[in-house]
Amino acid sequence: MNPPDMQVAVEPEAGLGGELPTAGSLQAARHVADGEGMAEDAARRRRRFGLGRRAGGRRRSGRSGRVAVWLLVGITLVLLLLPAVLQLSESDIASTPFEEPLSEQLLGTDSQGRDVAARMLIGMRTSWFAALGVISVGVAVGGAIGLVAGFSGGIVDTLLMRLTDAALALPGPLVALAVVAALGPSLRNTLIAVALTWWPWYARIVRSQVRSLMHRPHVEAARVGGLSRPRIAFVHVVPGTLSAVLVAASLDVGSVILVLAGLSFLGLGSPAPAAELGAMTAQGLTYLFNAPWVAVAPAAGLFVLAVLANIAGDAATDALER
């Protein structure tokens, strides 16, 4: 076995070893939480039993991966096509107000006689794509910042990370709330506000992945081997960051859906006739005892969406962490 050589003591950057998560560095906590450190588990078990085999199983990860992909693609397609196919509209007056579910419309009608089920589906579509949009922007912006910080090192890295840490230390949803309130309620502003508060996660994840990968033997081997720096960066480092980012992103889908819903509940999403699940629930609160379905249906729709997103996220994590 390898007797500890001095070199380990000397590396000032190898932060991940001794770094325990603080409230601000959620990346590590979430990584543990949702990834369950399966790879580490398996490695330890392997060593103890002297096996050369993965206790985690190739088969299971393949299946998880497929589950995740099917779910994500499936939800996207259904939500994209269904409203169009059924020609659902969010403001059509379908019938008399406050019709009970299963009488005429599937889920009844609301205070203005609109089809609750139709509005719910449209709302789910909006939530889904809004969440995907926010996460994509967050990953893009955060990832870029993380890459720059990780590869530059020195002052640039310190500055960017101080900024990121400070941003992480603030409560995201609250700041988003304030921003939207200031800019005026609209879907676009809400998306911008939430994306603005979400990128720090990814910046931190990407940056710490880059730093840890840069110290790995295979990167050192590449440097000794005379490969050019851009080549090392893009071929030998960046692909290694992808899995961590994807894990975080896939798990975030559910959370973003809920945060957006919360904001819209408070009136900070698209204004009135728009079918947004949070807003619909808020409007339905007034009639909670007379026509509970008006409030419950959109909230339940959110729940279903978030559950599916979480399952997909968990499965993706399983597959990627292997």
Binding site: G57, P217, A221, G240
Partner: protein, 694 residues
């Protein structure tokens, strides 16, 4: 030889007086499910451990030896669907039945455990003292145990945290924990002192993660502890040398079954089972006359155990009955053997030759080439002098690092004033323990680290030297195929597109990998294959010098030998120079023309290989040699005390002062220079071993 005869005598005395064995294993079968199937870890093992004896359980990775140790502790592997059948008794208590409470009590009062990695085996958030007394021992017993285990200043240590101690100290703490049982109420009478402590200590690879000199101290300590506390020890190890140093009996395990058991000296000088023979012959030793012969074939698959003898596919004397039927162990005259065709001729450890002519060369594995059967001539000292061009030349190279922050800031003098060269086509081995600076030196030799002072040259020109790492798997990019990684290097070297693929395949074939392996990603390959892939990739740059950082220390003996053979071959065919860094003197003996010994950032001795081993001049070199385990029973007599320090404050005098038994006043005030200018060189004022000049 006196040590062995006394332990032999002790063993037979025990048998004669018919004392009940401290632990006995009967027909133990252990299997458990993993995702790919069921692992059959142990398939019918019988073993007995008498009171006060040290039994070494020897096996390679995957043999099931750790599982056996765990079962003795009453802690079989926990996973879904573990099946355990058979009997494991410790002091009369069955350790594998359902009575968890009884097991716990036995563990608390009668058993002790020492595991491999002292870094992770101690709870980092608990003070040492607390962890020692947890079992029920009081503070006094705990402190005594620490002292017994050789921990200096035991009272102070009790209050410290694990991460404040070095690796060797931590392992001693583990041993102290094993000793500090809940002796409590039972001990009474004049024998109380002697009977305190555990009945049996299970030590699972206790020294593998330690430096050689520390390993020797700990192994010697096992012997002392056994005598002082009259406890038995089960020493689980892959290293026959460690077993030879201290065990009374050796049990060899392969594919979950016992191959042979017998008194140490008997097993080592007259092995009966072909696997034992193979182990002995494939062992790298510091005694250089024997060329190690690797066992052919590949390790057994615990998911699919064979119907017959597990070793049959790799056994040169296997016949039809071996493949069909599992041989049962048979005991006769104190020796147990499970083989239909045991070897009957003694092995001469000095030449690895087997007297009878009936032993053909071992079978090669798929995708690997046949190892050469005759040792290549060593390009000797004369050749070295005749080739003035060096592949690598270091002149007065120094490098230091600033560590810590604020008030704790310190300068680590990793490398201080090192000068040497590696001749073109030559092989120099750099030997040293942890903290000697060898890794830093290597990185400067490859050019990715610049020295603070001094210079690094590659006079023979050509492409810069390439690096082969210890952890081959980690040195290969995980998401690229082997072929792509080799081709990438060729591209960077300017090889025209049309030739790249052919050159890549050529290189891969040279190291013994086939097309199938080339298309794999690193994690799909075995340890040995990964090392070869890393070598092939390094060769793609067409270097004149190959620098290897502990290339074989993580591999099993047979694999290690094969990789070393490959390096030797490449030297011959490509005229490659090699600079190899290792802590294992046996590796140095095998492959180096010249050996340079490093201590605390300096070279303390440098000479042609045979001279270093036959007539070491520096006390440190001699200490390392004394500490290196050999397959001769009971030989281990470590002379080096203490642990390798880290080079922070280097005083004016000799850096080896703190561990040297021969130092004089001059050593304290004047730093010894490495003289003379060319090898053989030594940096010592005293030179206690200098031969009388005639």
């Amino acid at each position: 030889m006196s040590a062995t005869s006394s332990s032999d005598a002790r063993a037979s005395t025990r048998a004669a007086t018919d004392m009940p064995p401290v632990a006995s294993v009967e027909d133990l079968h252990v299997s458990f499910r993993v995702d790919d199937g069921t692992v059959h870890a142990l398939r019918g093992v019988d073993l007995q451990i008498a009171q006060g004896e040290i039994v070494a359980l020897v096996g390679e990775s995957g043999s099931g030896k750790s599982v056996l140790g765990s079962c003795l502790l009453g802690m079989p592997p926990r996973s879904s669907e573990t099946t355990v059948s058979g009997r494991v008794e410790v002091a009369g208590v069955d350790m594998v039945d359902d009575d968890d409470r009884a097991h716990r009590r036995v563990r608390q009062e009668l058993l002790g455990a020492v595991f491999q990695d002292p870094l992770s085996s101690l709870n980092p958030t608990m003070r040492i003292g607390r962890q020692l007394t947890e079992r029920g021992a009081d503070i006094e017993r705990a402190t005594t145990a620490l002292r017994d285990a050789g921990v200096p200043e035991p009272e102070r240590r009790m209050k410290q945290w694990p991460h404040e101690l070095s690796g060797g100290l931590r392992q001693r703490v583990m041993i102290a924990m094993a000793l500090a049982t809940d002796g409590g109420a039972e001990a009474a009478g004049p024998d109380a002192e002697k009977n305190d402590g555990p009945l049996l200590i299970v030590a699972d690879e206790p020294t593998t993660a330690l430096d050689v000199s520390v390993q020797a101290q700990i192994v010697a300590m096992f012997d002392r502890l056994r005598r002082e506390h009259d406890c038995s020890i089960l020493l689980v190890t892959h290293d026959l040398g460690v077993a030879a140093a201290v065990a009374d009996r050796i049990a060899v395990l392969y594919a979950g079954r016992i191959c042979e058991i017998g008194p140490t000296s008997a097993v080592l000088s007259n092995p009966l089972h072909p696997y034992t023979v193979g182990l002995l012959r494939s062992r790298l030793s510091i005694d250089g006359s024997a060329r190690p012969v690797p066992i052919g074939g590949s390790p057994p698959d615990p998911l699919h155990p064979l119907r017959g003898c597990g070793f049959a596919p790799r056994c040169a004397s296997a016949e039809a009955d071996c493949v069909e039927v599992l041989p049962d162990p048979m005991t006769e005259q104190g020796r147990t053997i499970a083989c239909f065709h045991p070897s009957t001729v003694p092995v001469d450890l000095r030449t690895n030759a087997v007297a009878s002519t009936g032993m053909p060369t071992p079978l090669p594995k798929d995708g690997e080439r046949t190892p050469r059967s005759d040792p290549p001539g060593r390009p000797g000292q004369i050749g070295h002098l005749a080739r003035p061009v060096s592949a690598l030349r270091l002149e007065a190279v120094s490098k230091g690092f600033d560590v810590g922050r604020g008030s704790g800031r310190n300068r680590l003098h990793a490398v201080s004033d090192v000068t040497f060269d590696v001749p073109a086509g030559g092989a120099t081995v750099l030997v040293g323990e942890s903290g000697c600076g060898k890794t830093t030196l290597l990185r400067m030799a490859t050019g990715i680290l610049t020295p603070d002072s001094g210079s690094v040259h590659w006079p023979s020109g050509g492409h810069p030297p390439q690096l082969v790492f210890q952890d081959a798997g980690a040195s290969l990019t995980p998401w690229l195929t082997v072929r792509r990684q080799v081709v990438e290097r060729l591209t960077a070297s300017g090889v025209p597109r049309a030739e790249r693929n052919d050159r890549a395949m050529d290189l891969l074939t040279k190291v013994g990998l086939d097309l199938r392996a080339a298309r794999c990603r690193p994690k799909e390959l075995s340890g040995g294959q990964r090392q070869r892939a890393a070598i092939a990739r390094a060769l793609a740059n067409d270097p004149t010098l190959l620098i290897c950082d502990e290339p074989v220390s993580a591999l099993d003996a047979s694999l290690a030998v094969r990789v070393l053979d490959l390096l030797e071959e490449l030297r011959e065919t490509l005229g490659l120079a090699i600079l190899l860094v290792t802590h294992d003197l046996a590796v140095a003996r095998r492959i180096g023309d010249e050996v340079a010994v490093m201590y605390l950032g300096r070279i303390v001795e440098r000479a042609p290989t045979d001279e270093v081993f036959d007539n070491p001049q520096h006390p440190y070199t001699r200490g390392l040699l004394d500490a290196s385990p050999t397959a001769e029973p009971g030989r281990l007599a470590p002379t080096l005390i203490g642990e390798p320090p880290t080079p922070f404050d280097i005083g004016r005098g000799c850096s080896f002062l703190s561990r040297c038994s021969f130092s004089t006043e001059q050593c304290e005030t004047e730093r010894p220079e490495l003289i003379p200018v060319t090898a053989p060189q030594v940096a010592c004022h005293v030179r206690p071993f200098a031969a009388v000049e005639v």
